[in-house]
Every structure is written in structure tokens, then in C-alpha cells.
């Protein structure tokens, strides 16, 4: 009997401890249900959504490089096949990556938003986090709808891994959700402004307004063609302008130098994605695009390594126009200072030690927008840069305002002024000021055996380079090779040396309106529309807006084909330069739905042509 009792005891103790044995608790991770309990945890949740947006799969590398570097303004240096040049099918790895990256961000965002009201906390703080989160979800869907068309619209976190088949929501309804999210964000973010933050790495009220303008503008164009939305685009853009939160940086180049130097320009930028550090210690917050793939070729890491893969087209280069008086060869100088910044006319060479080499071929110039040589961080990572990417800039808002306004009321003065403001800044009117436009010889004088020096005094400006020309001892003309800048009044011109005497001349100054569109460009809504389109190219090239712009303008395929013909007739020599135009087809208006999802989501359908 005793034995029996012992056995029973053993059995009983074991069975009771067995229950405990199976009741394990994880200590190394947290369940989503147990998180988002306070303001800090909501913020941590939000950080990861920003991270998704800026991460490698979306803005950090895949989206800019593989899907936005083949337009009429830019092309890849070497690539002749694959997604960069519109050769992709549903199994394309980059397409799957982009889709994955965006939806991962949406899931993070939905997790946060589903718990946003959970913590007891300051409502203002909650509203800000909620506003940013709604904005980001809206913007993720905007990226999806503009690239993939109809997409599964998920606004709650994934509840089950078993039932995962979700059909596509029509483009129109996706846009409706985007407007809803962004509008709500704008309301919630009334207190968050660039000025209140002191930097532009977070969503602010004006960022939401600017983005709403963009969304409305896209809705007005292809494929929805809902022209009623032009008014919305105008109103939102106007709201940004009227907020007086923003203005253009006087110096176009400084915007981008600031990115390289980790400085903020809260006036110019409505929202920039932040990149940071040199990818050491397991923290990979660098960008592969800004300054690296889209940078000036340089194999010297101390100077700032760049593969220089995103190159310009002649069309972009020529779009800036030239200074008719320029005598430089083979490319005349341009009065538009944006040209030589965006189209880098030099590289640092393919050698381990950087050696500056001029490049005069507009087909092989590197995108010069982000320049690693300005970076302050040392050592820099070879492949990833800390340079921020501007998702929306004030210049874009001005051009959107003009575009919407023109569609509604034609070329109004407000619209023209907005474009001209951008142009004036591009021409250096706010940074360099006015220079000397002409020097007219009044009296030739006599006895000049050599060319006299043209001396310019007064007027407040500097930097003018003017060269006199003599014939038979007389000064006959003065050519200006650099008009200088900073003149507030007309300077005095004298001629010294050259052995002669008596020559006199007077100067005229450049005008701020020199940069403005001329009357023919604003004569009708049609010509003004074209002028705005061209201005967007000059101003916003490499900022990932060209391809979506061409698509929403409704003539993408034909525009690319026209460009292809232009390219072949204008010096495009390699397959890499011509392949995008050759390959582009109507199906490229949308990316294919990735095979990965098609194979495990029974409700999905494919886009036409794939």
C-alpha cells in the first residue's frame, strides 16, 4: 500500500507541475497588444513608420533608383536591362521590395493607429502623433496608388495569418482614403510647424497641406482625370503660401549643400526624409541614393564615394538655356545657375585618389544635386550617405500653385509670379543679385596698342569679368564673360593701360525680371502649362517627381518615345541612354503586382500588360 501512495503522490505532483511547465511567458519581446501604453511608446511606434518610409526598400534605395532614374531628364550610366529601364515582370525583385517596404510601413502605422487612443496622455501630443501617422499612411497609399493602381486598402492591422486574401480597392477609393487621412492629419497638426520644430524632418501642418496639393493635382490628372480637384490643389498650395511659414532659400545650391552638411532649411523644405551617420555599429540609416548613386562619380572615400550612376540627358542640360554672350566651348554658360549644379560638369574620376576631371558631355554628366564632397561627417560610409531627401519643397508648392491656377483660370498673375519666383531664385537673383548686362562703348579713344583693362568701380557689385576688344587702336566693344553680382547701382567703367587713351563706356545692369518667363510663355493656358512643366524639370529633377509628373500629365509613353527620337538625333550613343525610351510601353504606366503576393493572395488580380 505504501508503494501505491508514493506512486500517487509522484503522479499528482507531476501533473500539477506539468501545467505550470506549459505556461511559459516570453521575456525577450513584447506583444503588440501589450505595447503602446504611453506617449513614449506611441512615439517609438511612429519612429518605425518614418524608418519604413526612409528605409532601403522605399526612399533609401529601391524607389528612387530602380523606378525613377529613367525619364527624359535622366538615365542610368550603365544599366541596359532590368527594372531601371522599364524591363520588369511580376517576379521582379525590386518591385516586390518596393511593395513589401510600403506595406511593412503601413502595417507598422496601422498597429500604431489602432492603439493610438489607448494611453492616457496629453491630447495635444496624441493629436500630433496621430496626425503624423495618418499623414504617413496616406502618403504610403499615395505611393502605392501612383505606382500600382488599384491596391489592397488595409487600414487596420493584420488580424490573422490564416485569412490573408484581400482584393484590390479601386484607385478612386484609395485616393478617397488618402484625402481622408491627409485632411485629418492637417487638422491634427495645426500646432506643429517647421518653425515650432526647428527642423523639417517631421510632418507639419504645411507638409500636410503641400502634400494635399500634390494629391489633388495627381487626382486631376491621369488616370482619374478628376478636374474638379484642381481647385483643391490650388487651395492647399495657397494655404501653404499664405501661412508664411515658407520661402525659397535664396541660393538654390545651398539647399543641397545643407543636406550634405546635415543642416536644416525649414523655409524651403516642407518635409525631408532624414538620413544619418555612416552605417556603422549596426545602425543603417544612410541613403543609397542621395549623393551615392545620384552623386558625382568619385572612387576616393575620403572625398565621398559615389558610383555616379544617375546621369543627365542633354534635354535636361539644354532646358536651362544659355547666355547668348557666352563664348565658352563646347557648352556655353547658362544664366540659370541650377544647370551647373544639377548637371555636374566634372567628376572625381575612377581612381583611388580623387582627381577632378571636367566633363562636357551632357549625356554622361552625373547628377550633381547631392554632392558628397560637401559632407562634414568623417569617415563617411562608402555606399550610404547621411544626405537628406526632400519629399516636398516650397518650390514645388509654388509650381503646383501655378499649375492648378492655370488649369482653373489660365495664366493669372499669381500663377506667373509663382513660377517667376522659382526662376529668379534659379538664376541667382536672390543670392547673387544683379550684375552687369552690357558695357556699351561710348567713345573708342585712340592709340590702344594692346587691349586695355576694363575697370569697374562703384555700384556695389563684384565679380565681373569684362574684356575689351580693340580695332585700329580704338576700343570697339566690351564682352562680358561673367556678369558678376551684387550691383545696386550702375558702376563707372574706365579703361586703363593698353597704351591708348580716351575710351569711355557705360554699363547697364541685369534686371531681376531677366529670369522671368517672357510674354510668349504666358500667352495662353497651353503655353503656360508647358512652361510650368519645363520649369518643374529644371527645378525638381532627380527628386523623383518626373516620372509621376509625366504619367499624370497623361502622355507618358508618347513623351518617352519622343524623347527617344530626340536622344538618338542628339548624341545619345549608348544603349543605357536609349533603352528606357525604347522599352517603355503602355503597361509601364503601372508597375505589375508582385508575383509574391499574387501567389498567396487569391483575391488579387494583375495589372494590364503583365
Amino acid at each position: 500500500m505504501k508503494k501505491k501512495y508514493i506512486l500517487m503522490m509522484l503522479l499528482l505532483t507531476s501533473i500539477s507541475s506539468c501545467k505550470k511547465l506549459l505556461d511559459t511567458t516570453p521575456t525577450d519581446f513584447i506583444s503588440p497588444e501589450a505595447y503602446y501604453q504611453n506617449a513614449d511608446q506611441l512615439q517609438v511606434g511612429l519612429n518605425s513608420v518614418y524608418d519604413s518610409m526612409a528605409g532601403t526598400l522605399v526612399y533609401g534605395s529601391i524607389y528612387p533608383y530602380y523606378f525613377n532614374t529613367s525619364t527624359d531628364l535622366e538615365h542610368n550610366k550603365t544599366v541596359t536591362t532590368g527594372s531601371i529601364v522599364y524591363q520588369y515582370d511580376p517576379s521582379d525583385a525590386n518591385i516586390a521590395s518596393l511593395w513589401r517596404g510600403i506595406y511593412a510601413g503601413i502595417e507598422r502605422d496601422n498597429l500604431l493607429l489602432s492603439s493610438i487612443d489607448q494611453p492616457k496622455m496629453d491630447e495635444t501630443k496624441r493629436n500630433v502623433i496621430k496626425g503624423e501617422a495618418l499623414f504617413l499612411r496616406g502618403y504610403f497609399y499615395f505611393l502605392l496608388v501612383t505606382n500600382f493602381g488599384d491596391v489592397p486598402l488595409l487600414i487596420t492591422p493584420t488580424a490573422s495569418v490564416v485569412d490573408v486574401s484581400v482584393p484590390r480597392t479601386p484607385t478612386k477609393d484609395v485616393y478617397a482614403q488618402i484625402l481622408k487621412d491627409l485632411t485629418a492629419a492637417e487638422t491634427l497638426l495645426q500646432t506643429q510647424t517647421a518653425a515650432s520644430l526647428g527642423y523639417s524632418g517631421k510632418i507639419t501642418k504645411t507638409a500636410a497641406e503641400g502634400m494635399l496639393a500634390r494629391v489633388c493635382l495627381y487626382m486631376s490628372g491621369y488616370p482619374l482625370n478628376d478636374h474638379s480637384k484642381y481647385q483643391g490643389a490650388y487651395n492647399w498650395a495657397k494655404k501653404v503660401v499664405d501661412s508664411k511659414e515658407h520661402s525659397l532659400n535664396p541660393d538654390y545650391t545651398q539647399i543641397f549643400i545643407n543636406y550634405a552638411q546635415d543642416k536644416y532649411e525649414i523655409k524651403e523644405n516642407l518635409w525631408e526624409l532624414e538620413y544619418w551617420g555612416n552605417n556603422t555599429g549596426g545602425v543603417n540609416e544612410g541613403s543609397r541614393y542621395t549623393g551615392q548613386w545620384a552623386g558625382i562619380l568619385c572612387m576616393d572615400q575620403s572625398k565621398g564615394y559615389s558610383n555616379g550612376l544617375v546621369n543627365t540627358t542633354r534635354k535636361l542640360f539644354d532646358s536651362y538655356g544659355v547666355d547668348p554672350r557666352s563664348t565658352t566651348t563646347p557648352n556655353k554658360a547658362s544664366l540659370d545657375l541650377r544647370r551647373d549644379w544639377n548637371c555636374a560638369n566634372y567628376t572625381w574620376g575612377s581612381t583611388a585618389t580623387a582627381t577632378r576631371a571636367n566633363n562636357t558631355n551632357p549625356w554622361t554628366m552625373c547628377s550633381g544635386k547631392w554632392r558628397r564632397e560637401y559632407e562634414l561627417l568623417t569617415p563617411g560610409d562608402k555606399n550610404y550617405t547621411p544626405e537628406n531627401f526632400p519629399v516636398i519643397r516650397y518650390a514645388d508648392v509654388l509650381l503646383m500653385l501655378a499649375e492648378a491656377s492655370n488649369e482653373i483660370n489660365g495664366p493669372t498673375q499669381e500663377a506667373i509670379d509663382a513660377v517667376n519666383l522659382v526662376r529668379r531664385r534659379g538664376w541667382g537673383k536672390f543670392s547673387k543679385g544683379e550684375g552687369i548686362k552690357t558695357i556699351n562703348v561710348i567713345a573708342g579713344g585712340a592709340g590702344y596698342t594692346t587691349v586695355p583693362i576694363v575697370a569697374i568701380t562703384g555700384g556695389g557689385g563684384t565679380g565681373v569679368v569684362a574684356v575689351a576688344k580693340t580695332t585700329s587702336g580704338k576700343v570697339t566693344s566690351v564682352a562680358i564673360t561673367d556678369q558678376g553680382g551684387g550691383f545696386t547701382s550702375i558702376p563707372t567703367i574706365t579703361f586703363t593701360g593698353g597704351g591708348g587713351a580716351g575710351a569711355t563706356a557705360s554699363a547697364t545692369l541685369t534686371l531681376i525680371t531677366d529670369a522671368d518667363l517672357d510674354a510668349t510663355q504666358t500667352a495662353s493656358p497651353d503655353v503656360f502649362r508647358q512652361a510650368i512643366k519645363d520649369e518643374r524639370g529644371r527645378e525638381l529633377c532627380f527628386e523623383l517627381l518626373r516620372r509621376p509628373d509625366l504619367i499624370r500629365w497623361g502622355n507618358f509613353v508618347a513623351d518617352m518615345k519622343d524623347f527617344g527620337a530626340y536622344a538618338k538625333a542628339n548624341g545619345a550613343t549608348t544603349v543605357a541612354m536609349t533603352a528606357p525610351a525604347d522599352n517603355v510601353a503602355p503597361r509601364n504606366l503601372l508597375l505589375p503586382i508582385p508575383t509574391h503576393d499574387l501567389s498567396v493572395n487569391k483575391a488579387l488580380t494583375q495589372n494590364p500588360g503583365y
Partner: protein, 1057 residues
């Protein structure tokens, strides 16, 4: 090795063995000699060869009366009555029963036991006589296995057993082999078997911690009937390892030691300086002019130059030594075993090796007639060191792999100076073409990679006989495994040099895994009415596990001379801290019923509750049943003299697989360093990452397996044949199922999908010759397994897998699992040779333009030139892209097997073991880089055969022109037949003559020479066909920069005192 019985003649004195047995039996019998004496019987016991047998136990059946034969084989005893039966038994011989029947002289001849139906087979929670086995259990012949000079048993297991596939990833010292029993059942989860070491189930074996010479037996449970007793962990088969324990008798001290060399077997033939410079001239003429054609040198200057071949520096003659010492003995009450082993292997690649110190103590004590207790402790400290040669590069650049730098190193500098003195070759800049290689010799010498494992296994048991037929065994144990992984990269290494932003870096990680176990088993054994034998077992067990990883990684370490101790000075340290746990509670039961040893029935059941699932899904139930018909015991067959045994076995049952994360049923968020965001240029702030979406409905994966087996033994076991056919179907796979990315995550665990394995196993044991001085016996086994994926998740028809190789190729899946086809197949383009001139139209300007009806190779049509690589355009659209991918190779073999031959001649013994794999393909990714330079790197040497590439006057259709490699695709060009036949182990031994041995006052001594991996017959062009450097169920047989399996030859000595 002590089983060889010396021949006796009448005048000889008994050897130690008979002495010992005599002594033991005398001890046993001493108290019994006072039993009443009525009848005196005597006689002589001899073996088949007419030699007398001393030490044979003779007992009067059903009594305690008995004796042992003396040195002349003579015995005598007193029996109580003339109806009594005498039982003659002796180790290694069949037990013989003889009725006295009134005789006073009974001379008998004992027959040797060859395979022996009475041999004991270890099964789950017990043992069973081989003849009574109903399931499919394979037993390793330890005598054969011990002849291989290896660090752990799994190194010698390949080809030994039908149905057990053992593959090495490569030859990296200290790595453990992949063992798969009867094909992989899981698609995405681990398919390695459950290890049961001295009764302790271990999910990830401790093979390196166990000294092979401590192992008494290895039994492999294959079918559901035998594995279902391990329930939720039985689906991948079970390997039961039983270690040696003390035996009755005086202390036996044995020493087994060997020392020998390890040598690399193959080197790759590389281009000589002339071929190299000529090739580089085509790759980059400007570069070549500057580097090689200065000081008036021309291509011809290189014609007879001898190049630098770093293979000569990276490979070394390694060594291998092992010393095992054991003392075992015991008496009626106490049996003990103490053993220790020191093993040291110096690898065939510089600065690599494996070292182990190991000790084991076991003790068994009879406390009383009813109570027996015992304990068993094994401790080992092992250190694997050296650059991990075949590892997947962290930054997914092939250029950091060790053998990349070795094979690709420039054979000549161009300026007459040595180029192997410095870490950096001035001509190679990481900034150009992402070529990160450095001098591999200097790097390998400076890199610290050290994995130290301290492993403790401690078990104890108490066995209590409650009533004569009922025994309770309570046992418990712990295993503590602590891995410490050290890495240090100083400035002279490939990842710590000045070109890397991380600078000098290093890490220390501790990974403790602790498991405890309690088992309580009741066994009831009873024979009813002579014919009915019943054996019932029931019990419950509990097991718990905790695991974790903690440590840190430090970069830009300022004082590299301090090594690992200087890591704390780093300005940037990334810490890791992880822990997890599981618990398992189980109830089990088994019934064995035997009727007249003719009809055998086994039914087993196990119910497992696991913490790995949510409440309501924790318990899984795993029943099985087996039936065996031993027809040789039927009357109709009993009289067929040449049939010793004939048995048909049938079994069916369910088993499970628990290889899923400890908390896979829960959604997880975590905060990795990769998910951070910097605002306002501040230090990045943590963000949440959805690491997993939980599946609360997750449950056990179930494998149903049917087995039909047949055992036949002929001519008194001289021929033994076992054939098994099986089909196992795994349902509700614990599949890391692909999810739509719209869920926010790429995969989650779901019980979906089905996979099937079916196969045939065939084992033949024969004793070909056996006479006084010469014997020859063979073992031949072959296994066929075909695997088929029956379903995946949702409407998924295929699952593609990439391997981490090189950025260009990583985007292209190298493997595919297609529903209706095997789980692992190579995937890519069909290679179609090289474009020839005929494929092109020649323009008036002399340019070659690909004809419209000829497909591209993935490059743009306009840049394809004669000599470029060509692929088959499967969909006929004129261009090559991922739509043209197809199955291009077979990942799994058609059959594998082994063939052992053992010969003895007088004191000599010779063992030859061949092992093979047939029908599997390999991806020879080395050729992507070194036979055409797939990444188009400059200054990269190539394999010698690429010198014969396509050139205008050499229209090769196999090797494309310089630069003609096309885009980075996997294709059938680099798929090779991985079949091989290998002379795996040869051992030649000599037992020193008895007189000589005796003179040295030792019991026995054997000297031997033994070799491993001696000769391989294969068509595979890579260094070694036994390779799988990115091994998983989905991605077998990938070869890139693999550590070669060395050839080992050792000289050894076995002595016992």
C-alpha cells in the same frame, strides 16, 4: 576489437577473458554450492571449430545451480533431477539448452552468433531483442564505425545505415553533419532527428561533446512504430546513443590513441602568369599596360614565368590526434566507468582546427535486491577555431570569402616585386568594383574565430522493482551547453582593415542552452501460459529548456593589441540579449505482445503537451501500431534448414515535429538597431518592428508513416537481409508560410502544406568466408527516397529560395520547390552554349548584330557579341529574363548507400568502407566567379580551363569570351552531377600475438593505420562533391569557397591492461 577469440589448445593457459569470466562466475556460484546434490553431470564444451571453450556458463534451468567450464572446456555440476535442462550460454555464442535425460556426460558444441537475433536493440524507453523487433530500427555496427579516425560519430555515419542520409556542409573543423532520416518532412523547418543520449532527448544533439569511443551502441529509429513513443519529436527519426558503462569484472584499463596527418586532396588549377596577363589585357587594357607592360615588358615576357599560387600557402598539412583512456569494471553491486579523451585536429587551412577535452563517469549501484541506482556525467570542452571558409558573406559580397582571394590572387605583380607581403595588393582597391579582397593568408593568420563549447550532460536514475514483474524507473538529468563565440578582426584582416568603416572590430557572444528532464516509467513484463509474452510500459515525462544569447559587438576598437580584452574601449558597442524557453509534458504508453515469438504486436501512444502553442492547441496525440509475423517460427518454415529467420513487419503511426519557435503563436514586436530613425540629426531613436504575426491556432505538425519490412536470415545468419519500404506524409506542416506582403510581413507559421517521402531501403549482411585463419564479411546498404511537395500555402504553386552569395545573384532564386515535385530543385536558365558568328548579321561597318530570330541572353540585344554566353529562350519571346527560368537540377540524390568489407587474417584485420551518393546535382558557384568572372572584377585570376575560352579563332561553345558572361543568372552551365563514390574509411590493424602481449603484462594490443576520405570517384569538377555551404532543406548542394574535406591518415594503438 576484443571480440576476436584467440584459438586455444588443450595445453594453453586461459587468457584474461576466461579468467575473468571464471572468476565472476565462481563468485556468483560460491554461495550456491551447498544445494542438495542428487545427480552429477559433466562434459566438454567446444566451438564449431572443435576448440574447447572455457568460461561457458552452465546452469540448471529454473534453478540457481550452475557452473562454468574450465580452461579445457570441462565442466561438472550436480543437478537435482534427471528431467532438468542444462542451459549453456557464452558471450558471442548461441545459447543452447540440453535436457539431462539421465545422461551423466553431455558434450556440446556452441554455435557462434553472427548477427544474432538475441542481440539487444535499444528502442525508446527500453530494449528489445532483435528478433522481437516490429519496427524499422537500424543499428550501427560500432566495430566498423570505431575504425574511422573522426572527432564525432556523425563524421563516420554517412553510408552506414539504410535510410540515414548524412551530409557535411564542408570540411570546416568542428562542424556537425546534417543528418536526415528517410527524407525531409518539413519544408522550412529543421529536419534533423531527435537525439536520445543515455535516455535524454536532445533536439540539437551534442555530437561534438561525445567521444566516439565512449559509445556502446547507436540505434536509429526510422518508422512510426518505433518513433511514435517520442511523439511530437519523432517525425524526423530518432538516434539513440547509449554510452559504455561498467561491467562486472576486474578493472579494465584501455587506451586508444592515434596520431596522423590531414591533407587537402584537391587544388584548383589556375591560370599561369602568361594566361593571366593575356586575359587581363582583354578585361582592362589600360590597367594591364600600366601594371604589366612597364620597363619594356610584353606579353611574351610572361610566357614561362612561374606564378604565385596562394593555395600553396593557405593549405597546410594538418594533423589529427586523439587519446582516449578508460577504466571500466565492477562487481555484482557496483559497476563503474571512467573515461577521458583529448582530441586535437589541426585543419588543412592555416589557423584552423578543433580541440576537445572530454571526460565521462558512470556509476551503477545495486542498493538492494529491488533498487538499482545509477548516474552518468559527461563533460566536454571543445574549441573550433579558424576563419569560416564557406560562410555566407555578411555584406553579400563574394569577394570577402577566403578562397575567393586565394584563387583570384594575381599570380604575378608585373614589376618583379612580391605581392604577397602586404595585406593590400596595390592593384586592388575595394573602392573599384566593390572588390574587398585582401591578402587571404595574412587575413586568415590574423583573424580570430573561436567557438568554445562547454557541455555538461548529467543523468541519474533509480529503478525500483515494485513486484517481480513491475518496475518503476525514475530518471532525471540536465544538459548545459554553453557556447562562447569570439571573433576579433584586427587591422590585418579582411573585415577589420583600414578600408572598413567599422575598423578593428570584435565580438563575444555567449549562448547558453539548458535542458532538464524528468522521466517516470513503469514497466510490466509477464509471460502468461508460456506462449503469451506481455510487456507494458507507461509513464510520464517532463522536460524544460531555457536558451539565450548575450554578448556584444564592438567597432573601431582603439587598441588592437589588447585583442578581445580591448573591446570595451570601443566607442560603439552593440549589445545583444535574448532569452527564450519551452516546456514539454508527455504521457506515454506501449504494449508489446508476443505469441510464441511468432506473432508480435506493438502498440504505442504518446501525448505531448508543449508550451510552444497557445492554450487549447498544446496537446498532440501520436498513436502507432505494428505487427510482425515471424514466419520462420511457423511449422511450414521451421523445417527449411537454411532459413534461420524470416519476418514480415507492418507498421503505421503518427509522429510530430516540434521545430518551431518557442513563441510562434504570439505576435511579436521588437526594437532592432535596424529600425531606428533620426530626427533633427540626433542619435537615431528606437522604432518598433513587427517581428512576427502570431498564429494562435498553431498546432503540431503530423507525419503519418506506413512501413512494410521484411527480415530474412539464411544459413545460420551468414546472410542477413532487411528490406523496408515506407511512405510518410507530413500534414499540417509547420510551414513558415509565405504571406502576402500586404500583411506587413513576408511569412508566418501556419499549419498548411503537405509533403511526402517514400522510399526503399535495402541492407545485406553477409559472411562470405569464415574459417580458422581468414574471414571476410560484408555489409551493403542502399536507400532510395523520393520526395514530393503535395501542397503549400494558399494557391502557392512554388516556393523559391535564394542563397546569400553575391548581390547580383541574390535577386535570382537558385532553388525552387514546386508542388508535385521534390522540395529542393535547382532553378535558373538552361544554358545553350556560346553565341557564334553564325548567330549574327554583319553590317557593312563590320559590326555584328544579333539576328532577329536569335534570342538575347538577358543583355540588351544591341550589346550582345559573338562569344557571349547563350541561354535557351523557353517562352520564345526573343529575350531572356526570369520568365525563362526553369528547373535545372536535382537537389536530392536518387540513392545513397555504403559498402563495408571486413577481412581478418590471423592477427590482421582490414576494413574497407565505401560510401556513395548518386543522382544529386550541385551548383558549382565557384565557376560563376572563376570561369568567366561573373562579377567582372579586375585583376582577378581565373581557373586554368578558362584560358581556352571563346576567341575569334577559337569558337568554343562552352567557355564564353572575356566579358561575355551576360547578366548575373544561375544557369545549367554551373549545375554539375554531384554523384560520387568515396573510399571513406580504410583501417588495417594487427593484433599483437598473445605471447608477446602477455610478456608485456597487458591484455591485448592492436596497432593500426586508418584513413578517412582516401579516394573519391566523381565527375564533379569542384574540389569536393560532399558539399553544401548554404545548407537547408530548400537549398542543398551549393558550393562556393568551401572548406575542403581533408584526407586523414593516422597511426594508432589500442591497448588494454
Amino acid at each position: 576489437m576484443y571480440k576476436e577469440r584467440p584459438n586455444y589448445d588443450e595445453n594453453r593457459k586461459p587468457t584474461w577473458l576466461s579468467n575473468m569470466l571464471f572468476f565472476v562466475w565462481m563468485c556468483c556460484l560460491l554461495p550456491l554450492t551447498s544445494v542438495a546434490q542428487t545427480l552429477s553431470v559433466s562434459g566438454v564444451v567446444k566451438d564449431e571449430n572443435n576448440n574447447t571453450l572455457p568460461g561457458v556458463s552452465i546452469i540448471v534451468k529454473g534453478t540457481k545451480v550452475g557452473t562454468v567450464s574450465d580452461i579445457k572446456g570441462y565442466y561438472s555440476l550436480k543437478a537435482t533431477n534427471s528431467n532438468a535442462i542444462l542451459v549453456f550460454s557464452y558471450i558471442g555464442y548461441e545459447t543452447l539448452e540440453r535436457p539431462i535425460g539421465g545422461s551423466t556426460t553431455i558434450n556440446v558444441v556452441l554455435q557462434t552468433k553472427s548477427s544474432g537475433l538475441n542481440e539487444v536493440v535499444v528502442v525508446g524507453y527500453g530494449t528489445v531483442k532483435k528478433g522481437d523487433l516490429t519496427g524499422a530500427v537500424a543499428q550501427v555496427k560500432m566495430a566498423d564505425l570505431e575504425k574511422a579516425p573522426v572527432k564525432s560519430f556523425d563524421d563516420a555515419l554517412a553510408g552506414r545505415l539504410a535510410g540515414v542520409t548524412v551530409t557535411a556542409n564542408d570540411g570546416q573543423p568542428g562542424t556537425v553533419n546534417n543528418i536526415v532520416i528517410r527524407g525531409a518532412g518539413s519544408v522550412t523547418q529543421d529536419n534533423s532527428p531527435l537525439y536520445v543520449v543515455d535516455g535524454f532527448p536532445l533536439e540539437d544533439g551534442a555530437n561534438n561533446s561525445i567521444n566516439p569511443s565512449d559509445i556502446a551502441s547507436i540505434d536509429v529509429l526510422k518508422d512510426a512504430s518505433s518513433t511514435a513513443i517520442y511523439g511530437a519529436r519523432g517525425a524526423n527519426g530518432v538516434i539513440i546513443i547509449t554510452t559504455k558503462r561498467g561491467k562486472n569484472g576486474p578493472p579494465v584499463i584501455s587506451y586508444d590513441g592515434y596520431y596522423g596527418i590531414q591533407k587537402n586532396q584537391t587544388t584548383q588549377a589556375l591560370m599561369n602568369p602568361y594566361e593571366y596577363v593575356r586575359y587581363q589585357q582583354e578585361v582592362n587594357p589600360a590597367n594591364v599596360a600600366a601594371l604589366y607592360f612597364n620597363n619594356g615588358q610584353t606579353l611574351d615576357s610572361y610566357r614561362d614565368m612561374v606564378g604565385l599560387d596562394l593555395q600553396k600557402q593557405v593549405y597546410q598539412i594538418g594533423s589529427s590526434q586523439s587519446h582516449s583512456l578508460a577504466i571500466r569494471g565492477g562487481n555484482d553491486k557496483t559497476r563503474y566507468s571512467i573515461s577521458g579523451n583529448v582530441l586535437n585536429q589541426q585543419g588543412v587551412i592555416i589557423n584552423s582546427g578543433f580541440k576537445r577535452y572530454q571526460g565521462r563517469i558512470s556509476l551503477d549501484q545495486n542498493v538492494s535486491a529491488h533498487l538499482k541506482v545509477g548516474a552518468n556525467v559527461n563533460y566536454s570542452n571543445s574549441v573550433s577555431s579558424g576563419t569560416i571558409v564557406g560562410q555566407s558573406p555578411a555584406n553579400s559580397s563574394v569577394t570577402v570569402s577566403l578562397l575567393y582571394a586565394v584563387w583570384g590572387y594575381r599570380p604575378v605583380s608585373g614589376n618583379g616585386q612580391a605581392i604577397d607581403d602586404d595585406l593590400f595588393d596595390p592593384a586592388i582597391d575595394a573602392n573599384l568594383n566593390s572588390d574587398y579582397r585582401v591578402n587571404p593568408i595574412i587575413s586568415a593568420q590574423n583573424e580570430l574565430r573561436r567557438a568554445t563549447v562547454n557541455n555538461l550532460i548529467a543523468n541519474a536514475y533509480a529503478e525500483y522493482q515494485i513486484i517481480p514483474d513491475l518496475t518503476l524507473k525514475v530518471s532525471g538529468g540536465i544538459t548545459n551547453n554553453m557556447l562562447r563565440a569570439d571573433a576579433f578582426n584586427n587591422s590585418q584582416t579582411s573585415s577589420g582593415n583600414s578600408r572598413n568603416v567599422n575598423g578593428v572590430n570584435g565580438s563575444i557572444y555567449y549562448t547558453p542552452v539548458n535542458t532538464w528532464l524528468n522521466e517516470n516509467i513503469l514497466t510490466y513484463k509477464k509471460t502468461f501460459r508460456k506462449d503469451h509474452v506481455l510487456n507494458i510500459l507507461g509513464g510520464y515525462t517532463m522536460q524544460g529548456n531555457t536558451s539565450g544569447t548575450n554578448g556584444y559587438f564592438a567597432i573601431n576598437v582603439p587598441n588592437e593589441s589588447l585583442g578581445l580584452d580591448g573591446l570595451d574601449e570601443s566607442p560603439s558597442i552593440t549589445a545583444t540579449s535574448i532569452s527564450s524557453r519551452w516546456g514539454l509534458a508527455s504521457f506515454l504508453g506501449r504494449l508489446n505482445y508476443t505469441y510464441r515469438s511468432k506473432y508480435l504486436l506493438t502498440a504505442s501512444f504518446r501525448s505531448d503537451g508543449s508550451s510552444k502553442f497557445a492554450k487549447g492547441h498544446q496537446w498532440g496525440y501520436f498513436p502507432s501500431a505494428a505487427f510482425a509475423w515471424r514466419m520462420s517460427n511457423e511449422d511450414f518454415m521451421k523445417n527449411i534448414a537454411f532459413i534461420s529467420d524470416s519476418k514480415l513487419r507492418l507498421s503505421y503511426g503518427a509522429t510530430g515535429n516540434n521545430r518551431v519557435g518557442d513563441f510562434a503563436y504570439l505576435s511579436q514586436i521588437n526594437f532592432p538597431a535596424s529600425s531606428v530613425y533620426s530626427y533633427n540629426n540626433g542619435t537615431p531613436l528606437k522604432g518598433t518592428t513587427l517581428a512576427a504575426i502570431g498564429n494562435p491556432n498553431l498546432k503540431w505538425e503530423t507525419t503519418l508513416q506506413a512501413n512494410i519490412g521484411y527480415d530474412l536470415s539464411l544459413f545460420r545468419d551468414r546472410i542477413g537481409l532487411t528490406v523496408d519500404v515506407y511512405r510518410k506524409t507530413t500534414h499540417d506542416l509547420l510551414l513558415n508560410a509565405t504571406l502576402p506582403y500586404t500583411t506587413g510581413i513576408g511569412a508566418a507559421f501556419k499549419n498548411v502544406g503537405t509533403m511526402q517521402n517514400q522510399g526503399l531501403e535495402f541492407t545485406l549482411n553477409t559472411v562470405n568466408v569464415r574459417n580458422k585463419s581468414f574471414s571476410w564479411s560484408s555489409n551493403f546498404n542502399i536507400s532510395f527516397n523520393t520526395n514530393k511537395v503535395l501542397a503549400l500555402t494558399e494557391n502557392q504553386t512554388s516556393l523559391k529560395s535564394s542563397v546569400n552569395f553575391s548581390s547580383g545573384w541574390n535577386d535570382n532564386p537558385a532553388y525552387i520547390a514546386v508542388v508535385g515535385q521534390p522540395v529542393a530543385q535547382m532553378y535558373g536558365l538552361l544554358w545553350d552554349g556560346v553565341y557564334q558568328y553564325a548567330d549574327f548579321d554583319k553590317t557593312p561597318q563590320g559590326k555584328y548584330v544579333l539576328k532577329d530570330n536569335i534570342s538575347t541572353n538577358g543583355n540588351d540585344r544591341s550589346i550582345i557579341q559573338p562569344g557571349d554566353i547563350k541561354y535557351k529562350d523557353i517562352n520564345g519571346d526573343g529575350v531572356i529574363n526570369s520568365s525563362d527560368f526553369t528547373v535545372i537540377g536535382r537537389g536530392l540524390p536518387v540513392h545513397t548507400g555504403g559498402f563495408t568489407n571486413n577481412f581478418t587474417y590471423k592477427g590482421f584485420d582490414l576494413s574497407l568502407f565505401f560510401q556513395w551518393s548518386y543522382g544529386n546535382d550541385l551548383i558549382n558557384a565557384n565557376r560563376l566567379i572563376f570561369e568567366g568572372n561573373g562579377n567582372a572584377n579586375r585583376n582577378l585570376n581565373q581557373f586554368a580551363d578558362y584560358a581556352d575560352r571563346w576567341e575569334p579563332d577559337n569558337p568554343s561553345n562552352t567557355l564564353f569570351r572575356t566579358g561575355g558572361q551576360g547578366p548575373t543568372y544561375f544557369s545549367s552551365r554551373v549545375i554539375e552531377d554531384g554523384s560520387y563514390l568515396r573510399l571513406k574509411t580504410v583501417s588495417l590493424g594487427y593484433n599483437l600475438p598473445a605471447q608477446f602481449v602477455k610478456a608485456l603484462t597487458i591484455r591485448s594490443a592492436r596497432i593500426y593505420v586508418s584513413g578517412q576520405n582516401l579516394c573519391t570517384w566523381t565527375r564533379y569538377s569542384g574540389p569536393d562533391p560532399e558539399v553544401s555551404v548554404r545548407n537547408s532543406t530548400l537549398t542543398p548542394g551549393f558550393d562556393y569557397s568551401a572548406y575542403p574535406n581533408p584526407r586523414t591518415i593516422v597511426f594508432g594503438l589500442n591497448v588494454s591492461f
